[in-house]
């Protein structure tokens, strides 16, 4: 709308958006303690509020034709590309439609959560430290979104990882929280390992790391890359039996695009808690609830989806990677939803629901519906933040009497809170409907869009046809439907556990403590955060009525609930009201060629919406039956009957233990072996063994020193004898000067002189000379002729020895075809030595591209000598 006010190339408003949170973090962090809580709160809120306003202005001034507002700050560094050219990496920010929306979400939801947290954390001594980290997190998230190239995104990427480490471990005096923070950072770091690999690959193949740069040179990603066998492993270099087992006859080759996409996806899986690396998110609930709301619901976890959407043109080049993304998405959705079914901790339920909803988003981007996936990110931010904040206000109320974190979050201690906390109850209910997919709510539209595109999309790599060498992977026709039905199952489970949580918390009677009207806290001055409860648990706990949270906590709840209900209409495709869809459309226009409607799914859109709605109905009804009418009895019955399965699901399928036993255990054992080897083997051999050997040699030689003079004299005599022996016997040696061997075939032989020596040569051309003083002889050789020359030496003591020298002149014997080039053997083939074998004669037209394409282009090894 504002369109042309700002210069698109030097969009400095971004400085305001980025720097405000950074300044807020610095001021709160360094001076917070002295400024006092009010000032810290004011600083934090103004920082995020300002950033939000600036984001709104940016949102309005984003050009509609798919252009971007960019702002280059300075040259960060430059890296060497494929053929030695230097790839510049600048600190550059750019905003297009997607980034603008994400900025709105981050700063908008961020502001609401800051407002909420300023009330929630009021009594916490580390108030200024909390807001410093929160502001720093928003700065890092904004960096991530607005980054114009992968390294700047990576700065934000690890920045948010670092902030989540600090925030999860905020109450670090409890060992459990610190370990959860460390676990989150390390698992994120495993993801970042994938991102670093992807960046290295892109530098090599695309010669650039900015979004346009990669987009322009994305075709070079279609070069096949030999994955296996790596290095010089081949049938020859390996023992035979091992060789033909692990070395396939044709090397395993994969598109570079697939490698890059999978590496990127590993990063996204780490950050957005997908199946292999999701274990850190449930433990991240150890942090304060606003942290879970902001980081582990609205912003950070969606960074993975943002990255996949941002680099959709890379993912689209390899349908195999898209399939992996979609399948992992549906598997995560199912796994997390199943675990969420029986969790008792309210925040754990919400955590698993986040993981499951993220699975949905990855299904969306996996099947090529990037706009749908991104829209689900948009709506999920609202209702998940509202759920977490609702849970926070419930926990805040429970803290009145139950101070132990685990028991205050346990749903079995809650129940019937709808009477005491009406606002929290209704907002929680609204968000539950949204997430479960109640028709017309935000969740319904975004999830349905994903389900429909999963059902109908067919992904094909149209560009792959251009490179005939490797057949691109085609999607099996049934995969779309399989994902669709898996998602439907996950949706039912989502509806079930969400309403289970709702009913267990707000309905039924209050199980926390017996409510005594007008109850006053005996030791009022008690420090709110004291964890160790003195009074015994034998007599039932009394306490006041759980109170509704104060205004700054409930206001954000209401706003978020409103968005949860009505945000769906921003992109409701079936009823063609999709302003946000049109706004995002230019960003993903690159996807047309690759994603098309499956012919089997023509016109079935409205029909396929029914299973979605049915899922919602079944899930909600089941939850209502189990937890509202029968107040949770069936769950206990099921627990006794299928105890094993129940406990297995309750223990999160024991995936953590599986990881500990395999991956972590293996690395631990390897570390022990290395430490032991380092101490005993390497240090032992190099340091201690040599020391011991020298000591031993010392003792041996010491025995010679007997102190008696005659022994010394005798040893001297032996020495004399040895020298004498050497003098007495003759030594024959010959030095051959063959510098002119090649040209004239003439070799000058010279025998080593000695006292009283006489020489006799044999094997010369014909004449065997008698014993003469002559010690030097010249031998003439024909090309290709071999000759052995021996010299006999006699000395004054009439003792004689001999020494033979083999002489050989290279080249063909004179008779053969006189073609000998006379040059030494061809230069040896040194691995790694670049020798372009340029074929002589004309090059047929269609072979030219073979020469031009980067290394590994032809059938041979990937980065071998072909470069």
């Amino acid at each position: 709308m504002l369109g042309n006010q700002f210069d698109t190339k030097d969009f400095a408003l971004l400085a305001v958006v980025l720097l405000l949170p950074a300044i807020g973090a610095f001021v709160n962090g360094v001076f917070g303690k002295r400024l006092g809580k009010e000032a810290v709160r004011l600083m934090a809120l103004t920082a995020i509020g300002g950033a939000f306003l600036a984001s709104v202005v940016t949102f309005l001034s984003v050009p509609h034709d798919g252009g971007r507002l960019s702002w280059t700050v300075w040259r960060w560094m430059s890296v060497t590309g494929q053929s030695g050219n230097s790839v510049p990496i600048d600190v550059k920010f750019s905003v297009d439609a997607m980034t603008a929306t994400m900025m709105l979400v981050v700063t908008g939801v961020g502001f609401l959560i800051h407002l909420y947290a300023s009330e929630y954390m009021k009594k916490d001594p580390g108030y200024h430290r909390f807001f410093c980290y929160l502001n720093l997190f928003c700065f890092a998230m904004l960096l991530l979104i607005t980054g114009d190239n992968l390294p700047v995104l990576f700065v934000g990427w690890e920045g948010v990882g670092m902030c989540s480490y600090l925030l999860i471990g905020f109450w670090f005096d409890d060992e459990k929280n610190a370990r959860a923070g460390k676990k989150a950072f390390i698992v994120n770091r495993i993801g970042d390992f994938g991102l670093i690999l992807a960046m290295a690959l892109l530098v090599y193949y695309c010669g650039s790391l900015t979004w346009e740069g990669i987009d322009n040179s994305k075709l070079s990603l279609l070069a096949p890359v030999k994955i296996w066998p790596i290095g010089n492993l081949s049938k020859e270099t390996l023992p035979v039996f091992l060789g033909n087992i692990i070395i396939p006859d044709k090397p395993v080759q994969v598109y570079a695009a697939t490698l890059v996409a999978l590496a990127l996806f590993l990063g996204c899986a780490g950050k957005s808690a997908q199946v292999p690396l999701y274990i850190w998110l449930p433990d991240a609930m150890a942090g304060p609830t606003p942290v879970s709301a902001l980081i582990h619901a609205a912003t950070m976890v969606t960074a993975g989806v943002y990255l996949v959407a941002r680099l959709h043109f890379v993912f689209l080049l390899s349908p195999a990677a898209m399939a992996v993304v979609a399948v992992i998405g549906v598997v995560t959705a199912l796994l997390a939803a199943s675990i969420g079914l029986f969790q008792h901790d309210l925040k754990k339920v919400l955590a698993y629901s986040t993981v499951s909803q993220l699975g949905f988003m990855f299904i969306g981007v996996g099947v090529g519906a990037f706009a749908a996936g991104f829209f689900h990110v948009f709506t999920h931010a609202f209702f998940k933040a509202c759920l977490f904040l609702g849970a926070g206000s419930v926990i805040h109320a429970m803290h009145a009497r139950i101070h132990d974190t685990d028991r205050s979050q346990d749903m079995r201690n809650m129940g019937g809170l709808k009477r005491f906390m009406p606002i929290t109850r209704w907002t929680f209910f609204a968000s539950c409907c949204a997430i479960a997919g109640f028709p017309l709510t935000a969740g319904f539209w975004s999830k349905d869009e994903i389900l429909w595109s999963a059902f109908s999309n067919n992904v094909v790599n149209s560009k792959a046809a251009a490179t005939p060498r490797m057949a691109p992977y085609e999607w099996p026709p049934w995969l779309g439907q399989a994902i669709y039905w898996g998602a439907i199952l996950a949706a039912t489970m989502t509806a079930f556990y969400m309403f289970r949580a709702y009913f267990m918390t707000f309905h039924g009677n209050f199980r926390g403590w017996s409510i005594v009207r007008g109850w006053t806290d005996p030791h009022a001055g008690h420090d709110h955060h004291d964890h160790h409860e003195e009074h015994d648990t034998s007599k039932p706990l009394e306490g006041p009525e759980p109170h509704e949270s104060p205004a700054p906590m409930t206001a954000p709840l209401v706003v978020l609930a409103a968005f949860a209900l009505f945000a769906g209409f921003l992109n409701a495709h079936p009823i063609h009201i999709a302003p946000l869809g049109h706004f995002l459309e230019p960003v993903f226009k690159g996807a047309e060629g690759f994603v098309s409607e499956r012919e089997g799914a023509k016109g079935l859109m409205w029909v396929m919406m029914a299973p979605g709605f049915a899922a919602f109905l079944v899930g909600t009804a089941a939850a209502m039956y189990v937890y509202l009418n029968r107040a949770g009895q069936p769950e206990k019955v099921f627990a006794e009957k299928a105890g094993g399965l129940y406990r297995l699901i309750y223990d999160k399928w024991r995936i953590d233990e599986l990881y500990d036993a395999t991956v972590v255990g293996m690395v631990d054992a390897l570390a022990d072996i290395f430490t032991m080897a380092d101490k005993w083997f390497i240090d032992g051999v190099l340091a201690r063994l040599t020391a011991m050997l020298t000591a031993l040699a010392g003792t041996l030689l010491r025995t010679l020193q007997t102190g008696r003079i005659q022994v010394y004299a005798a040893v001297m005599l032996l020495g004399l004898g040895g020298v004498g022996w050497f003098m007495v016997y003759p030594h024959a040696d010959v030095t051959a000067d063959d510098t002119s061997l090649r040209s004239t075939g003439e070799v000058k032989l010279a025998a080593a002189p000695g006292y009283g020596y006489t020489f006799r040569w044999e094997g010369l051309t014909g004449t065997d000379s008698q014993l003469t003083e002559r010690s030097a002889v010249t031998v003439r050789l024909q090309p290709g002729e071999k000759k052995n020359v021996t010299v006999f030496v006699k000395n004054a003591f009439q003792l004689e020895t001999s020494h033979t020298v083999a002489l050989e002149r290279p080249g063909l014997p004179p008779g053969a075809k006189a073609q000998s080039d006379g040059k030494g053997a061809a230069p040896p083939n040194v691995p790694g030595m670049v020798r372009p074998d340029i074929p002589t004669g004309e090059i047929p037209a269609d072979d030219i591209h073979k020469l031009l394409l980067p290394r590994g282009a032809d059938q041979g090894n990937n980065k071998g000598a072909e470069k």
Binding site: R702, G707, R708, A713, L717
Partner: protein, 103 residues
């Protein structure tokens, strides 16, 4: 002047040297050690003079022999002084006693 060929004298000198060496290596008495050293030195002098007889242009051999005698005398004096001091300390001149150099 004698017409005995020089080689004879060389042989005698060699035998005398071997006798001296045997004496030095086997006898346990320090004095006998010193005497056998004197014998060895004399045999060397004899060889020098014999060769000087063969190449009679100058008296190099004999001069060297002369100096060897001078040094031998000095060496004998000091050697005997040491033996005396050793005897005063160790009350014996048995060569095995002089083994302070043992490790």
């Amino acid at each position: 002047m004698s017409t005995v060929p020089v080689e004879y004298f060389l042989i005698v000198a060699a035998v005398l040297f071997v006798v001296g060496a045997v004496g030095f290596l086997l006898r346990r008495n320090l004095l006998v050690l010193l005497m056998s050293i004197e014998l060895m030195l004399n045999s060397v002098n004899l060889t020098l003079v014999a060769y000087n007889r063969l190449h009679a242009a100058n008296h190099a051999g004999q001069n060297l022999a002369f100096f060897v005698i001078a040094v031998a005398a000095a060496e004998a004096a000091v050697g005997l002084a040491i033996v005396l001091a050793f005897f005063r300390v160790r009350k014996t001149i048995h060569s095995d006693e002089a083994n302070l150099l043992k490790n």
